[in-house]
Symmetry: C2
Subunit: 648 residues, 2 copies
């Protein structure tokens, strides 16, 4: 890690004190149109209001009112971690208001903050599930209780408020709660930790926002405590379920519940960066790298198993029944972002891009009012319809639901989308890095207050051409770095009318820029086949299709009459853009050549001969994976057998 000091307070979700690169503020980059602008609008107009309304409808805000009235014993509703959903929604409201003034959201945020202030206990404790007369005692269930998890999300909401001039009262609430936690769990006190990591990264961020060293020390202590079997063994799942099987410092790969593992990794990286703990940093980076190498879906999603919501073994990546929780994808973006800032390795920006396009935005429906909790890569049977108005008990992988009894995913989408602009670019001592491509403008400073303004013109990801224009500069030399994604087979950089091929990674142009200077990067977004590592048993003999950063899927809606269990792709013919009308706005369908098989009926699905099959040539139409299941119930697959394998 090189060292780069950054301003302590500005609207950005993570603000490390050191690193190869420093984050911009989310207000520095204005996304004006295109893919991400559309999603940010959806987030503002639908997702955030939907979360806020749902929280009222199901009574999870009401729990705080019951706490105020002292009637929790008879009136509390929902599972033990529902408080956190309000906090995440409040965080989203704060970022969203910074992005673009939103008086309605601010009013609600202030209302919620006031309520929390009235409910908070004298000693700073705040939780509606524990610690009231007739309820379970505070910290009586560290394994499952989620108290520090909920607290962490409150701290993060308060940090967002601090950095966006939100209601000051929430900051007081958060500091009192954080002080209470340090008092309770400090050295020599209650030597325990929370079954669900989250407090670690939250305490570090609160330290960054306030300068209060105590919070950092407490975060470091929580990270060090984990892995020493302090928590009880879990029923069926083992202590690796909550990463208490092995110290963070010596673990080799992410294990157990994927969201817990990734929240912990983010917190451990934050601690390592702030304390200069290279050993810890290197260990967590290696864990994440190995997880990318062996335990990550093509979509960037993580977590193979419904049972325990856990990572599988290396290369255990089933497409059907994949858990691939939305929250794990959000958390993976957080981890990759921390690694990108700390190391400057553009590979992590590739991971962020892949994850955002394919397993974050796959969660919300086109109307932003229902969500996938799990993001499976194959669906054999049409899903079930959620019961209207009732939070879904099930994390079905076939249809989206408006809300869940455990509803962590919608609010996580809300807070990430509202702060998304902060992840688009970063700066260092000598210039600017563009990591993600979205039409808009960047106005920021780097080095010792050197000011720069750029505009980006692109219809990415539909098209691979990105034009960057310098709109303001100080006349001195500085570096403009552009990410060249690994998926682009041929990438061309055009500067001053001269084109040259550039390899993937990052390309840096160093010069004394003048206003009006233009740089154009042309990436090859034409559709392509992708093959899996042979050790991934579940997709052996299959190919997938990608186009630019988007993973594509075959959905039954687009192949009437075909059984998706029996189609195959002919890889001898390259996939091509299609002009078919698929009834989804703003996407480019892709066509491949393939066959539809028919198999004869059998009473036993195994035999001495590969089953005789007759085949009919057919074209198959693919749509971006993130848009599947928006046209009624359907079946779907990302990985499809190659004709040469299925015909054997």
């Amino acid at each position: 890690m090189t060292t780069q000091h950054v301003a302590p307070v500005a609207p950005r979700p993570s603000s490390p004190g050191h690193g190869a690169q420093a984050p911009i503020s989310l207000t520095d980059y204005r996304i004006t149109s295109g893919f991400w602008a559309d999603f940010q609008r959806l987030n503002r107009d639908a997702i955030i209001p939907h979360c806020d309304e749902s929280l009222e409808r199901v009574g999870w805000v009401g729990n705080f009112r019951a706490a105020e009235r002292g009637t929790l014993a008879t009136e509390r509703v929902g599972r033990l971690f529902t408080d956190s959903e309000l906090y995440k929604t409040m965080e989203a409201m704060a970022w969203e208001n910074a992005r673009e003034a939103a008086p309605d959201l601010v009013a609600r945020l202030a209302e919620h903050a006031d309520l929390l202030a009235r409910v908070q206990a004298e000693d700073g404790y705040l939780n509606t599930f524990y610690g009231y007369d007739g309820g379970p005692e505070r910290y009586s269930d560290m394994e499952w209780g989620h108290e520090l998890y909920c607290a962490g999300h409150l701290l993060q909401a308060a940090v967002a408020v601090m950095r966006t001039d939100g209601p000051e009262v929430l900051v007081d609430v958060a500091r009192r709660l954080a002080d209470h936690i340090c008092d309770q769990f400090g050295p020599g006190r209650h030597e325990s930790l929370c079954g669900h990591p989250e407090i670690e990264t939250a305490l570090v961020e609160l330290y960054r926002a306030t300068g209060e060293r105590r919070y950092l020390d407490q975060a470091a202590l929580f990270v060090e405590r984990r892995g020493h079997q302090i928590l009880a063994d879990t029923m069926y799942k083992g202590r690796d379920y909550y990463q208490d099987n092995e110290p963070v410092r010596t673990a080799e790969v992410l294990v157990g519940h994927s969201v817990r593992a990734l929240y912990l990794a983010a917190g451990a990286l934050d601690v390592a960066v702030e304390t200069g703990d290279d050993e810890l940093f290197t260990a967590v980076r290696a864990q994440y790298d190995r997880t990318l190498e062996r335990r990550t879906y093509l979509t960037g999603a993580m977590g193979s198993n419904h049972h325990g919501e856990t990572y599988g073994d290396d290369f255990e990546l089933p497409s059907e029944r994949a858990y691939a929780e939305t929250c794990a994808s959000v958390a993976s973006v957080h981890v990759a972002w921390r690694l990108l800032l700390a190391t400057g390795d553009a590979r992590y920006a590739d991971v962020i891009e892949r994850t955002l396009y394919n397993s974050v935005v796959s969660s919300p429906s086109v109307d932003g009012r229902s969500f996938f909790y799990v993001n499976a890569l194959q669906r054999r049977a049409p899903g079930i319809d959620p019961e209207p108005g009732v939070p879904s008990l099930r994390r079905t992988d076939g249809t989206r639901a408006p809300w869940f009894t455990t509803s962590c995913c919608p609010t996580n989408i809300a807070r990430l989308m509202s702060s998304l602009s902060a992840y688009v670019a970063s700066v260092d001592a000598t210039g600017v890095h563009l990591h993600q491509y979205a039409e808009g403008s960047l106005e920021t400073t780097f080095g010792a207050g050197r000011r720069v303004r750029l505009s980006v013109t692109t219809s990415y990801p539909h098209d691979g051409a990105i034009t960057v224009c310098v709109d303001e500069t100080d006349g001195g030399e500085w570096d403009l770095s552009l990410r060249v994604p690994a998926w682009s087979r041929a990438s061309t950089l055009i500067v001053d009318g001269e084109a040259r091929a550039v390899p993937h990674g990052e390309v840096t142009i160093s010069r004394a820029w003048a206003v009006g200077d233009e740089v154009r990067l042309e990436l090859d977004v034409s559709p392509r086949f992708v093959h899996p590592d042979p050790r991934i048993d579940h997709v052996r003999g299959c190919v997938a299709v990608e186009r630019g950063p988007l993973v594509y899927a075959i959905e039954s809606v687009d192949q009437p009459g075909l059984d998706l269990d029996l189609v195959a792709i002919d890889v001898a013919h390259a996939p091509v853009d299609s002009t078919a009308s698929v009834g989804i706005d703003g996407v480019t369908p892709v066509t491949v050549k393939g066959v539809a098989h028919a198999v004869s009926a059998a009473t036993w699905p195994y035999g001495e001969q590969a089953p005789p099959a007759s085949s009919t040539a057919t074209d198959l139409t693919l749509v971006p994976y993130f848009r599947w299941a928006n046209r009624g119930k359907s079946t779907m697959r990302v990985w499809t057998p190659r004709v040469d394998v299925l015909s054997h």
Copy 2:
């Protein structure tokens, strides 16, 4: 169904009043040596004593003593269904004593029966988890409570006692309990049903043993009630988890928790047979047939998912992380046996054979004192060692454990193995059917008391030759039917020195037999490749190896230095018997030609090219699947990629 009346009381686990064939008694067939004799000895010497000792050690017998003392409120241990494990062990003791006198087991059985009689409530209720002062109320949790499930196992133990001259007191206990249940849940009373089916088949069998029609009517009522959403929706799993989503009469395939589904199917078939309800019979048969066709593992195991212990969608049959619970295999044998007797279709005897050899006996270790709860078909990473002396919380798929917090599997093995001889043959009006092949002798009657005695000489499944000799006959004409397994590629029947090829199914020789007449059946047990249906995504491009009725597996112990994630089989060379010493008694290893691949390191497991791989030719040694994980921790796979697919 044709009609065949059978004697009401004899040592047999299921005694239908009608059917194409009638069961023999387990005392009719004496298995004297070979594969099943070895397992029955293991069951008698190790498995049954281990279950009985474990029940004492973990306090599950102690719960009944605490009930007697009135101290359950402070002393009860274990989960809510532990009573059933004692009942299943008692059932095993009764059958085992009938098979071969076992005074020690009878003494324990009587001791347990006396204890139950002392504990049973005045009104017949009997359960250590519910209904005592300070405990949960009787029938307060029909969804999860398992009260009728436990009761069902007690009834089955009592039926075994009735049919084997065991302690009469247990029969009284069972009748009082059954009467209590009929009083509580009869028409117009508590209109509910148990979340875990089992009472249905138990009540029918008690009706068969006692002639008490009320029990049959109550069983029929429980079957009819199911599927009408009487039970609450389950968290995450849906009502299909306990088959309360759709009436048994209209369902099309087995769904949800596989053991529940199969216990229900057995009970529904029993009801259908006794009441002559052809519609119900046909529906359940079709459900099971479709389940065999689309939802069954090569090993005969059922239940794809750890989450909910459920069936997957059609063709969703992952090898790794397969649940494939031992109890589901035991239950599938029960269902297939009922269908075989009712229809006479030899295909169900094939299913029984496959399931017994490959997913029932795979559970116990060679010493009969540890067990697989789940029987996965692939294991990528070596399992974990169970903690000595502590019931395992985890249903690991890599190593066996001596006991589980939910320990249904060991006791299910015990009761099936002790009654196994009853499943070997059956009779009808005109003769004898041999379904399974084991060295021994059959002495039984058919038709109007016609007596026959046969001896069977074979070293099956090691060898495919089976010789049947008539040792006693009445001189009249009768039919000897022998099953010809579907897996045998070439089968020869030799009668009077004349050989003829016979197709799979059943071959019947009708003649006036004389003492000393011999029939010889020669099955082809040479090893062979088996290919999967192309719709089973998880094993696409793979082959498995079978030899006779045994499914084989590649275990890491036998291929030192090779990574089982990167081996492939060359199907151009037929598998052959091997003379390699594998350190497992009584099995014939098999060798195949194959390759070991090496792949270059990559930071992302997907790419535009199928990953470059170098290959080294190698022989691979396979052992019978049921014997894997008996030589230390290892990795294993049943399905292995074909060279031509992995090399693409």
